[in-house]
Amino acid sequence: MSRYVARRLGFLLLTLLITSLIVFVVTQWLPGDVARVILGREASEPALAALRAELGLDKPLPVQYLSWLGRFVTGDWGTSYSTGLPVRDLVLERAGNSLMLAGLTLLIAVPLSVFLGVVAGLKADKPLDTTISVGSLAVVGLPEFVTGLILIDLLALRLHLFPANSSIRPGTGFVEALPQLVLPALTATLVLLAYVTRLTRAGVIEELRQGYVRTATLKGLPRRTVVGRHVLRNALLPTITVLAISFGWLISGLIVIENVFNYPGLGRLMTFAIDRRDLPLMQAITLLTVLVFALANLGADLLYAALNPRIRLE
């Protein structure tokens, strides 16, 4: 098991290395001159050359790559071109915000969608199941900015339950930020809901057909025990895996939702960086995103193996 984890972590490092190379090369290809972006259209040629030299942009590419990588690994993620602030502080601050949002989303989405999925699966093809399935599909059909705006209109503007603007100040803690987190988290939940519900429903229906359910029922166990002790244990395996993987998306993929609610997460920082052609910022966010996705995948695999005795990781 520990050997397996070590090997997976090794692969993870390799993945990061390859991604860093891709990120580096791609950012070199982007049109536009960084020095000119920083200094503006009217900057003189000597001033541009001086800045290029200062940024190391005049050196051969492999040298640039290695020095960039070396600094990155040692914790120096560079300075944001557009704000002049250290990239690391910017990114980690936003990553913390994203983590809070992802955490609340999972807190809402997991119990809700699993509950709905299990109910739908147990009552497959009955009116309740149809209601749940059609309802959750209808919701997922709407784009996030629409559901987000509907939620703002309903819960913020009409009922005044939560603020419409989620632009929390830097350094705000989870509890303090909670009211402002609810609406974006609900919106993200609605995106996950239909998918996870249907997956859970399919898992429950599939497992209910298995012979061991008959064995358990014919032991004379009450339905509650059959479902709770026997069915869910197997039916939720795929759901758990998918939820673990979706964690990566929740951290760095909520670009639309963050923009709708003005929430300072990683997604918005990324759009900001792209707008300003802020290379160090883009590089750092991309690498962090890859790391989060890879860790989420590893976590999903480990969780799956821990819950499923038929899987032995070696």
């Binding site: 064995t215 014919l218 004379g220």
Partner: protein, 700 residues
């Protein structure tokens, strides 16, 4: 069994229907039966007979679209259909137990065996420790020697036989009054099956449990049951004692079932099987008269128009047939007439080999971890096939038998090139075959073909039968599409299917028809050698019989040599001129069929033979192999069979590889015991068995 005791189970006029769309199809119609305490009652029929539906209806556990639409199921006088769900749960917990067909799927894969067993034993109020010690005791009762290990295991860590023992332990946990066994040994090896049957028989005798034993296998039913009901298309067609079943069944269907199952030693050329014509009646198109009439060789006009009643016979049986009195009086025979002839080539085997394996070896590497590779520990391997030398003469059949895990299928896959052999040589006539399929040219593919076990998996569901047959004809034989279609029609006729099947897809065919199509496909290139890997094992007995006869006829017409692989010794002996017995990757005995089936034989062959359930019911004091097949990763040293051998000599077996002994010209086995010594003990054992059989009732 004449003690008058009140029935534990009484089924009265039970009718069970399934909703399918707008239709309601009665899968069981008006069936009555009763089982007393300590009685074992067999329920026999092929797929579609309604036997499993009946068993589930008795348990009040029908699928959602199934419903009891008539009659009653009474357990000790109590009508189960009227019980509310909570009381039915009590009945399930304490009184009726089901042992299902598929033990692997019937255990929860993510709970330990001990926890699953505890659940069945819990009264409420006992401590976890008390419960567990009762569970361990229960495992000991089903002859599991290391209950602690088994209780701590997950289901996938146990063999099929062990899983079935666990399920039996669960079923017997609360000493139920009725035990329903639904094909409990169908997917198990004969050796395991025999051990399970022994176990059930003993446990039932100890506890006087009533048993409903559902099976398609008449031999199994005959060894265990006192009374047997035969179901056909949802109706009971005959109800009789096991004794009567052996002596003279009255209904032509019962006789047809008996005549479809090969007995060990029955040979195709001498005593052919008499398969039942046609297919089982469909529930949505039941005949107006007798349901069996369209397939019955005795059917007359009234049979086609008037449904016969279930009538009582003079010796207390029940039969549903217009002509049973004529059959009982011996005026007509319930058995079908023997087919004109099955021509069997009985050429003396020449020296030529159509197919020869010399020292065939196949090892699969066991994956090593990175650390093991760095430490350069030697790679562990599965010795799937370990030095097999066999040859099949032209136009003859070699049968290969052994338990699952013995390496039969790997041998077949190495021969056809689906698996690449690790060592040794395979030759087709005088061509040395390349290990892998890719390196073999088309002429080899043409001359060497294979038929697989499961026709569902071997046929693409989206291709018509015509596509399936024309492809090899065009690819391997170079025919034009028009020629290929004409030839495909001819092939279908050769496997007794009409050319109308050319445009059907596999989904429209029955299991037997599908297997006929795969056989037709394999004959498309007129192969010199045909490998048949468990090709009839999954089929119903009547279908199996017709396929076995078809193979015999095709061999006579086409002259192909067969390598016939099966765990079913009776089917192998029916078809094969020679038999090879395989154990843990090695051949332990080989010789002409008549010689292999009689002493002296290898102790493993002896155990296999002894495990075959026989209609004459002789299984008491037979040889039973202890434990499961050892792992092929580290096979036992010395003689590989020594860990389970009933005739173990001592250290010599553990330490030295046994030599080949020549029992007769062409008949050899690998054992430390010399032929005359082995023959002496085995002949006595065989005579004792026969004597017991004769005393317990005349054989067929």
């Amino acid at each position: 069994m004449n003690k008058p005791s009140p029935p534990v189970l009484q089924v009265d006029g039970l009718t069970v229907a399934y909703r399918r769309g707008q239709q309601s199809l009665a899968a069981v119609r008006n069936v009555s039966l009763s089982i007393a305490a300590g009685q074992a009652y067999g329920l026999v029929g092929e797929s579609g007979s309604g036997k499993s539906t009946l068993a589930l209806a008795v348990m009040q556990y029908l699928p959602e679209n199934g419903q009891i639409t008539g009659g009653a199921v009474r357990l000790a006088g109590q009508d189960l259909a009227t019980l509310p769900r909570e009381q039915m749960q009590q009945v399930w917990r304490d009184q009726i137990k089901l042992v299902p067909q598929d033990p692997g799927a019937s255990l929860n894969p993510s709970l330990r065996i001990g926890d699953q067993l505890d659940e069945a034993l819990r009264d409420g109020g006992e401590t976890g420790q008390e419960l567990r010690s009762r569970s361990l005791e229960q495992l000991r009762q089903v002859r599991i020697t290391d209950p602690e290990r088994v209780a701590a295991s997950y289901p996938h860590q146990l063999s099929g036989g062990m899983q079935q023992r666990v399920l039996i332990a669960m079923a017997l946990a609360r000493q139920p009054s009725l035990l329903i066994l639904d094909e409990p040994t169908t997917n198990l090896d004969v050796t395991t099956e025999a051990a399970i049957l022994d176990l059930v028989r003993d446990l039932v005798q100890d506890h006087r449990t009533a048993i409903l034993y559902v099976s398609h296998n008449l031999g199994v039913v005959a060894t265990l049951c006192d009374r047997v009901a035969v179901l056909y298309a949802g109706e009971m067609v005959e109800d009789l004692t096991t004794q009567q079943l052996r002596l003279r069944p009255l209904h032509p269907y019962t006789a047809g079932l008996l005549d479809s199952v090969p007995r060990v030693g029955q040979r195709a050329g001498v005593d052919p099987l008499l398969p039942i014509a046609g297919n089982i009646a469909r529930l949505d198109a039941l005949p107006a008269g007798c349901v069996f009439a369209p397939r019955c060789h005795l059917a007359q006009q009234p049979c086609l128009d008037v449904r016969p009643e279930l009538e009582e016979t003079s010796d207390g049986g029940l039969v549903r047939c217009h002509r049973w009195r004529e059959i009982a009086a011996g005026e007509v025979s319930a058995s079908a007439a023997r087919p004109a002839t099955i021509v069997v080539q009985n050429d003396a085997p020449g020296d030529a080999s159509a197919l020869a394996m010399t020292g065939l070896v196949k090892r699969f590497p066991v994956r090593r971890s990175l650390a093991e590779m760095l430490r350069r520990t030697s790679a562990r391997q599965v010795h799937a096939v370990d030095g097999v030398s066999l040859h099949v003469a032209p136009r003859r059949t070699l049968g290969l038998v052994g338990e699952s895990g013995s390496g039969k299928t790997t041998t077949a896959r190495c021969v056809v090139g689906l698996a690449e052999r690790t060592g040794g040589e395979v030759t087709l006539f005088d061509i040395v075959l390349a290990p892998g399929l890719d390196a073999r040219d088309a002429s080899v593919l043409r001359r060497l073909q294979m038929v697989f076990q499961n026709p569902d998996e071997a046929l693409n569901p989206y291709r018509t039968v015509g596509d399936v047959l024309q492809r090899p004809l065009q690819r391997l034989m170079g025919l034009s599409p028009a020629e290929a279609r004409a030839e495909a029609a001819r092939l279908l006729e050769a496997v007794r299917l009409s050319p109308a099947y050319l445009d059907r897809t596999p989904g429209q065919l029955s299991g037997g028809e599908k297997q006929r199509v795969t056989i037709a496909r394999s004959f498309a290139s007129n192969p010199d050698v045909l490998i048949l890997d468990e090709s009839v094992s999954a089929l119903d007995v009547s279908v199996q019989a017709s396929i076995l006869n078809l193979l015999t006829e095709l061999q006579a017409e086409q002259g192909s040599a067969y390598l016939f692989i099966s765990h079913d010794l009776a089917a192998v002996s029916y078809l094969a001129d020679d038999i090879a017995v395989m154990y843990l990757g090695q051949i332990v005995e080989v010789g002409p069929t008549e010689l292999v089936l009689h002493p002296p034989f290898h102790p493993y062959t002896e155990a296999l033979l002894s495990a075959v359930p026989r209609l004459d019911g002789a299984t008491e004091e037979s040889i039973r192999l202890p434990g499961d097949l050892p792992s092929a990763i580290d096979p036992p040293g010395g003689c590989r069979f020594h860990t389970r051998c009933p005739r173990l000599l001592g250290d010599i077996c553990r330490e030295q590889e046994p030599p080949w002994q020549e029992a007769a010209p062409g008949h050899r086995y690998r054992c430390h015991i010399a032929p005359d010594e082995l023959a002496a003990v085995q002949v006595i054992a065989e005579q004792n068995g026969r004597l017991r059989r004769e005393m317990s009732g005349a054989g067929r």
